[in-house]
């Protein structure tokens, strides 16, 4: 147990180091950006720009600005937005975390569950038309860009059939259905493909044959002995899945007008709102690093082989 604690401490250290480096690099990259953050800079006089820079602390030497920013970061202060009525970035983002998290969670849940079902069926019906169809579905899901899927859903179910609102967010479940589907396609395709490969591997293993030799049917063996072993490695793709979701949320939130982080990020990028861009960058990185850490811990919890070797102190 002692060494497991040590291992965790090491992971935590790397996590913080990663975040520190990301924050620093982002900060200096932002300093390299051309132009000023003011939308109407052509109309501003030098003097006005100087005064505004003074107000945002942009006239101080870069190292001073850097220390101030990093100091703020420790206390959760991400600075002040240049746009949006000078709202503090932390406040700006905190109101937007909710919808993004809701969409992301729904998409991951629906996507992976359907993906697992599809993958298991494909593996069980290996090399039949069912398998081909499932694999093909997964490839199409992975291939079609999520913004195309989102627009297609919006057009068919919003504009033509009028089953769902076209682009309106009221926080309710109904308004979240189309964006959730658009976001769920990618985790669905990824997990289906992943589970199929794992399951095919597991199904050809000796312990599956032994379970069959005990007198269990193919499907009983698959569920009692196969799925669990195939699911364990799935946690390793949670990280990449989260990244895909962040990417996806930027376009999907925009298309469906959802007040989430992704939509804010795009808005900030197009308006040169450095503090918000940095805030979102750090937030996304923190989320990813956190997920990687959780996956690491989770893996140890659900796989008895790792769990025990940790207890033994390896």
């Amino acid at each position: 147990m002692k060494s497991y604690g040590k291992y965790l401490a090491k992971r935590l250290f790397y996590m913080l180091l990663t975040l520190f480096l990301i924050a620093s690099i982002t900060f200096f990259l932002m300093k390299l950006l051309p132009g000023t953050p003011y939308t109407n800079q052509d109309k501003l006089s030098e003097e006005q720009i100087y005064i505004m820079n003074e107000q945002y602390g942009l006239n101080d030497p870069v190292p001073v600005q850097y220390l101030r920013y990093m100091g703020g970061l420790v206390t959760g202060d991400l600075g002040t937005s240049f746009q949006f009525d000078n709202t503090p970035v932390t406040q700006l983002l905190s109101t937007r975390v909710g919808p993004s998290l809701q969409l992301g969670a729904q998409a991951v849940l629906i996507g992976t569950i359907l993906g697992i079902v599809l993958g298991v069926i494909a593996a069980m019906k290996q090399n039949t038309w069912v398998d081909t169809a499932a694999t093909f579905t997964a490839i199409i899901g992975r291939s079609i860009p999520n913004f195309v899927i989102a627009v297609l859903l919006q057009l068919v179910f919003g504009v033509y059939l009028k089953w769902f609102p076209i682009a309106l967010w009221d926080g309710g479940f109904r308004s979240s259905i189309l964006p959730t589907i658009a976001l769920a396609i990618s985790p669905l395709a990824d997990s289906a493909r992943f589970i199929r490969t794992e399951m095919v591997d597991v199904l050809s293993s000796d312990y599956i044959e032994l379970a069959r030799a005990k007198g269990l049917s193919r499907w009983a063996v698959a569920f009692k002995h196969g799925v669990r072993n195939a699911l364990i490695p799935l946690v390793t793709i949670l990280g990449p899945m989260a990244v895909a979701l962040m990417t996806g949320s930027m376009v999907v939130e925009n298309i469906f007008a959802i007040p989430g982080i992704g939509e804010q990020f795009v808005k900030s990028i197009t308006t040169n709102d450095y503090p918000t861009i940095m805030g979102v960058t750090i937030l996304y990185s923190a989320m990813l690093v956190f997920i990687i850490l959780v996956v690491d811990i989770l893996y140890g919890v659900i796989d008895p082989r790792i769990r025990v070797s940790n207890e033994r102190g390896e």
């Binding site: 790397y14 490839i139 291939s143 860009p145 195309v148 627009v151 990417t247 930027m250 990028i269």
Partner: protein
């Protein structure tokens, strides 16, 4: 004993005493020839790939699309950036085809009208896929756009390949401290979502094809490096590599002569997957408005332009979206087929 029914020789066999003479070597060898021809790794893989209909079809589609995009200056009926304001927003019209949607008509309100007549377009002028709001020919723009998207994807994939393979080889080959440090660096880099890096890079660099390629190259090589390192670690301790080392071959010689040929399978597969991902990223960036600047066409900018008016002129979005979907599906199917073909475990 169930064997008994077999202990009597079959009646149909005609046995003559001379058959009990010793068999000659030739007679024996005759029955020991090997039935299957021997094939090299690549021949064998190619043979297996050919059995995969989806992959072969994808390969053909991709070759055609690549040829079309390379030949865009010849094939494109018009200058992709030439604006003919009088011919703006025209629906597709193909000579000799009288199907709604392809005959120059569109629905305005409740009636179907001939837009070409309405806008006084001469009878002999056809826009096969229609025009956009600035009167630019969509077909020409799609041809040039595909060209730009493919260019970005291939160059980015080439960068991934060079950086990733080198990094992976060095890390895996030297092992120990070098590997440890290089892996920690990888770990830190992979803690950053790649889209964030790409976006930051694009903000710092001037928008354009080169910036997108650089931005994609900075993030894309990581998975290649991982795969190559893992394989190198595995190969490094195999006998033929040890033998080459014992014979005093330099690491570079070993890498070129032994490692890379054996890694070619995973490298090709990984590259095949990184191309569609680059195509997607270009389209994604252009869609959110920080990709290729106007007026250059890419599949992403075309979709973005089309999306702005898609409720009224859906064809402006669906045609480029269709092209990108076909490209992505074909690349993914081919990559999948290649992976199966290279994977000897799947041999049956």
């Amino acid at each position: 004993m169930s064997n008994e029914n077999h202990s009597v020789a079959d009646e149909t066999i005609k046995i003559s005493p001379d058959m009990f003479e010793r068999a000659t070597g030739a007679q024996k060898e005759d029955s020991e020839k090997i039935a299957a021809p021997s094939l090299s790794f690549l021949q064998d893989s190619w043979r297996r790939l050919k059995k995969n209909k989806a992959a072969v079809l994808s390969l053909i589609v991709l070759i055609l699309m690549m040829l079309a995009s390379v030949a865009a200056p010849i094939l494109a009926p018009r200058d992709p950036n030439a604006q003919v304001i009088q011919h703006a927003n025209l629906p597709p019209k193909i000579p000799g085809v009288d199907i709604n949607g392809l005959n120059g008509t569109s629905v305005a309100g409740t009636t179907r009208v001939d837009k070409y007549e309405q806008q006084n377009v001469p009878d002999d002028v056809y826009y096969f896929l229609g025009t956009d709001s600035l009167g630019r020919d969509l077909l020409s723009r799609i041809l040039y756009g595909t060209r730009v998207s493919l260019l970005i994807a291939f160059v980015a994939a080439l960068f991934d390949l060079t950086i990733g393979v080198t990094y992976g080889l060095v890390s895996g080959w030297y092992g120990g401290r070098v590997d440890n440090v290089m892996q920690r660096i990888l770990e830190i880099i992979s803690g950053v979502p790649n889209l964030v890096v790409v976006i930051l890079m694009l903000l710092v660099l001037n928008p354009g094809i080169t910036s997108i390629i650089i931005a994609l190259a900075i993030t894309g090589w990581i998975s290649m490096a991982r795969v190559v390192r893992a394989q190198t670690l595995k190969l490094k301790n195999q006998e033929y590599i040890l033998a080459a080392r014992a014979l005093g071959e330099s690491p570079v010689q070993i890498a070129l002569k032994h490692l890379i040929p054996n890694l070619s399978g995973v490298i090709i597969i990984q590259t095949m997957f990184s191309i569609p991902s680059a195509i997607f990223f270009e389209a994604f960036l252009s869609f959110i408005g920080i990709g290729i600047p106007a007026p250059t066409a890419s599949l992403g900018t075309l979709i973005n332009d089309g999306y702005k008016t898609f409720r009224f002129l859906p064809h402006l979005m669906w045609y480029p979206a269709g092209v990108i979907c076909v490209l992505m599906i074909a690349f993914n199917l081919l990559a999948d087929g290649l992976r199966d073909a290279f994977d000897p475990k799947m041999k049956d």
